[in-house]
């Protein structure tokens, strides 16, 4: 028995099961790559030409273009990883992402538009734990040959205040 769709939009979106699975796998692997300190894997979740942005909810709603991060190519993502590994100075810390279920909002223009809630707990080397960020991913995801990739990921952070620094991607 299938339950009726709550929103009219959901009725019209027929997402192939394989695409749903690929998207779910992308979401899962993305956060595990970051949380397990495999940052070198992180750029590979994106298409070559892509957009990765971290922006506050307030600025996102106002349509302002600048947030804390703005990368528009996989090369820029890789440069970020090199900088984190080799250049930037900060106290060692790790993230733990917890993500909610992914809602597919649209399926046009060669990509699925989705949103997914997340929270990130940050643990410092001395053991201090903080709720570092909460918000949602607003994504455009392509699925080719069974592999889902981010063409666009806008990390919309509920807060506009960031504690100390955002060295590691969310």
């Amino acid at each position: 028995m299938t339950s009726p769709a709550v929103t009219p939009a959901a009725k019209n979106l027929e997402i192939p099961a394989a695409a749903r699975e690929a998207i779910a796998r992308l979401m899962m692997e993305y956060v595990h790559a970051i949380d397990n300190n495999e940052l070198e894997r992180w750029p590979r979740f994106f298409t070559e030409k892509c957009l990765y942005q971290i922006i506050s909810r307030a600025d996102h709603e106002l349509g302002r273009p600048i947030g804390a991060w703005f990368c528009d190519s996989r090369g820029m993502l890789e440069d970020r990883v090199s900088s984190i590994r080799e250049v930037n100075v900060f106290e060692p810390h790790v993230y733990r992402h917890v993500i909610g279920p992914t809602e597919v909002l649209d399926a046009g223009n060669g990509a699925y538009t989705t949103q997914t809630s997340y929270i990130v707990v940050r643990t410092m080397h001395d053991g201090e734990m903080t709720l570092f960020s909460a918000g949602r991913y607003v994504d455009e995801i392509t699925v080719e040959d069974g592999t889902a990739r981010l063409r666009k990921r806008v990390v919309v952070t509920d807060s506009w205040r960031y504690d100390t620094l955002i060295a590691i991607p969310i």
């Binding site: 600048i66 100075v89 900060f90 504690d163």
Partner: protein
């Protein structure tokens, strides 16, 4: 209007080991009583504090809320186009009146305290009290209560190039005089168009506010702490540099210029595309830029006492406002700007260069952590002093960046205003 009501005099709280500005007692970063005095003698003293941008309140009744030190302030546009700044504290019980970051009031409602509906006009006059005459002849304010004797504290307000400043003190010189001609010229030069907000965020720092302000005036640290430019071979962008101050050394500019010894037509006209073979970056378009300023300055940080910074990092223009958050913490509000006159391509360059600044800035993220490192380091040694002798023992402009002259300038003002 004081926070230091039960604090011992500053002279009993801190003692400078010697005259001058080369030593700083570390307990100035950790003493709660001194912090209270700083609120009274600096933030509510004879200094201009940055309040916001004129473009945030374009029309009558538009307001923003901010802080001067710890004091909450409303900044509102009046019908005649001028700007008022009022302490955001109802005279009745002390509640804040405006509890949103920005909003709009029409003339009828003006500022109404949410607690008991005491109402103020845009000048801070108390115009109405709910149930002033009581209800059905009972209750109400006593007959002799005079509303005109109760009002919101109003700051003096002045603007320069769209930046709004406020001061509590009648003793503060007019803004342009306070800044001095060198600072005025640089503000007018940096904000050369009609500003437009491209983004805003706040960075919460685990350090006393003065450690950040020192950092903003410390041009000794950038090439040492921030390795991004040197690692990715971007140093060629900035050759000569220097440090400028106003006559009294209250304020500071550090700047770097591109090589000026050889003319380069391509460099002077239009967009400068960063080439992959020249840098260590996989995607050097991050630092695509154009020479925005005829003075050939590629980076400048201008720090206005007490807590305002105007930045130009390549084409990334922005303001930073220091907000105090108790003796051990502070907050930095970043507003990234473009100009209405910018082409879409120029706006995109500014957006990409935003990666260099802020809490995730490839060049600057360390500034969010380094003050916390100091705050942690000094805990057990508050009787010790910091040593500030790079570039000599004096204050004043210097044709070099290997100097702490403007850090000494900060402590010069600090000692004057705190009388310590």
């Amino acid at each position: 209007m004081s926070q230091a009501i039960n604090a011992r005099p500053p002279q009993e709280l801190v003692s400078w080991p010697e005259p001058g500005f080369t030593r700083v007692p570390l307990n100035v970063f950790a003493d709660a009583e001194l912090y209270a005095w700083e609120q009274d003698l600096i933030f509510r003293g004879p200094a201009w504090s940055y309040l916001g941008l004129e473009i945030e309140i374009p029309a009558t009744g538009d307001y923003i809320t901010t802080q001067v030190g710890d004091t909450p302030v409303i900044v509102v546009r009046k019908p005649d186009g001028s700007i008022n700044a009022l302490v955001n504290k109802c005279v009745h019980k002390g509640s804040i009146i405006c509890y949103e970051s920005r909003g709009k009031r029409d003339r009828v409602h003006n500022f109404t305290c949410p607690y008991h509906n005491w109402i103020y006009d845009f000048d801070g006059n108390l115009t109405s009290i709910a149930f002033e005459k009581g209800v059905q002849g009972k209750g109400g304010m006593p007959a002799g209560f005079d509303k005109s004797r109760h009002r919101l504290i109003r700051l003096r307000v002045e603007t320069i190039r769209g930046l709004v400043f406020g001061t509590f003190s009648e003793r503060t010189p007019p803004l342009r005089e306070y800044l001095g001609p060198v600072m005025v010229q640089h503000i007018e030069r940096t904000l050369h168009g009609k500003p437009r907000i491209l983004g805003r965020y706040s960075q919460f720092m685990r350090n006393n506010w003065k450690l950040y302000v020192e950092n903003s005036r410390d041009n000794y640290h950038p090439s040492l702490l921030h390795a991004f430019f040197s690692t990715f071979k971007l140093n060629r962008l900035s050759a000569e540099g220097g440090t400028r101050q106003d006559d009294k050394s209250w304020h500071h500019i550090t700047f770097t210029k591109r090589h000026t010894d050889r003319g380069d037509q391509a460099y002077d006209s239009g967009m400068i595309r960063a080439m992959k073979q020249d840098y260590g970056l996989k995607d050097p378009s991050l630092i695509d830029q154009w020479m925005e300023y005829p003075d050939q300055i590629t980076n400048s940080i201008q720090s206005i006492f007490p807590g305002f910074v105007l930045q130009q990092i390549l084409n990334s223009i922005g303001t930073r406002q220091v907000i105090t958050r108790g003796v051990n913490d502070c907050e930095l509000v970043w507003t990234l700007l473009g100009f209405e006159e910018d082409t879409p391509e120029q706006t995109y360059v500014r957006i990409k260069q935003s990666n260099l600044v802020g809490p995730a800035g490839l060049v600057s993220m360390e500034d969010g952590a380094i003050g916390g490192f100091v705050q942690k380091g000094i805990k057990g040694d508050l009787d010790n002093v910091a040593v500030i002798e790079m570039g000599g023992r004096e204050v004043g402009s210097q044709p070099t960046r290997a100097t702490e002259t403007s850090v000494r300038g900060f402590w010069k003002v600090y000692r004057e205003l705190m009388d310590v």
